[in-house]
Amino acid sequence: MNKGIKASSDDIWKNRVDKVNAELFTLTYGSVVAQLVRDFKNDYQKVNQQLEKMGYNIGIRLVEDFLAKTGTGRCQSFKDTAEVVSKVGFKVFLNVTPQVTNWTSDGKTFSLILDENPLAEFVELPDDERAKKELWYSNVLTGVLKGALEMVQLEVDVNFVSDVLRGDDRTELRLQLIRFLKDEMPAGED
């Protein structure tokens, strides 16, 4: 991937994206997580599940906005996909560019390190030891990535492995390519 990708994403972010105050977005997401925690009475597994499910539903719609407005073409490798997710996807939607790192030698798994996370700005986890061990506050992202990538025929497993909110050193998302959905690949593109 060339340097052009960054310049072009910057341009799209600056000139072609309708923007809203990030605080409003953070507050809205925070209210959703807090409500789920209340509803499921601190059963954080269930909260994580619901966040992922919601993310999936967002991802399958968001991907069309992404493709229609960024002009991203078919990635030739999963390495390209990683670059595009970080430098184009995260950039034009959340205005951050996570670091792509920790590739496995088979090239099928990598990490995204979120130095900045607009979902979790000024957030503190519930004052509950279990929350620090079980809640993945930003879990909506795993669903968004799964949903969006599935629509471009990539079945991917996505999980958080660490989160600064839990007291970890950094916030890390792990993406693993399960398979390329060949049967769902549209004809006319090879």
Partner: protein, 158 residues
């Protein structure tokens, strides 16, 4: 002049048809469905016919400055007749946008480019007014007034 727009879902089902001018004879709803199904089939066969060498050279660009990439690299791209032309744009998610226009003036490629530009804008409208409508179910027929209006405005402004 743009005559008509068709949108086909990932499995080739017709989910949208909009006559934007009256330069063509009207088809029945059933004929629209048959046309969509036929194009979907011919499109796939055309892709099989396309020689491999051509396919490789026609890979979509990695990124094209803010306007959607046509994933249609080896399928049926256009149909030219004396009375109308038809152009096909396919998104990476497999949605097809079909534009029926008056016959291309000048060479075939310029007609394709013009149509593709319009179809890119239509795709952006689809992303905004269809996908962000929470009452619209993906792959189902599009019945969204605002989308109809936006398409009509876009075509009128060309």
């Amino acid at each position: 002049m743009i005559q008509s727009l068709f949108i086909l879902n990932r499995s080739g089902g017709l989910i949208y048809q909009h006559d934007l001018n009256d330069g063509l004879n009207k088809l029945s709803a059933n004929e629209h469905l048959i046309l969509a199904g036929t194009i979907h089939g011919v499109f796939a066969i055309a892709s099989k016919l396309t020689p491999t060498a051509v396919k490789v050279s026609a890979q979509p660009r990695a990124q094209s400055q803010g306007s959607a990439v046509n994933g249609n690299t080896s399928g049926l791209k256009s149909i030219e007749t004396d009375k109308f032309s038809m152009y096909i744009f396919q998104t990476l998610t497999g949605v097809k946008f079909l534009l029926v226009t008056d016959p291309a003036q000048g060479d075939l490629n310029s007609g394709c480019d013009t149509a593709e530009n319009v179809l890119r804008k239509i795709y952006a409208l689809y992303a905004d007014y269809v996908m962000k409508n929470p009452f619209y179910e993906i792959d189902m027929p599009i019945r969204v007034d605002l989308f109809d209006r936006k398409i009509a405005e876009l075509v009128k402004a060309l």
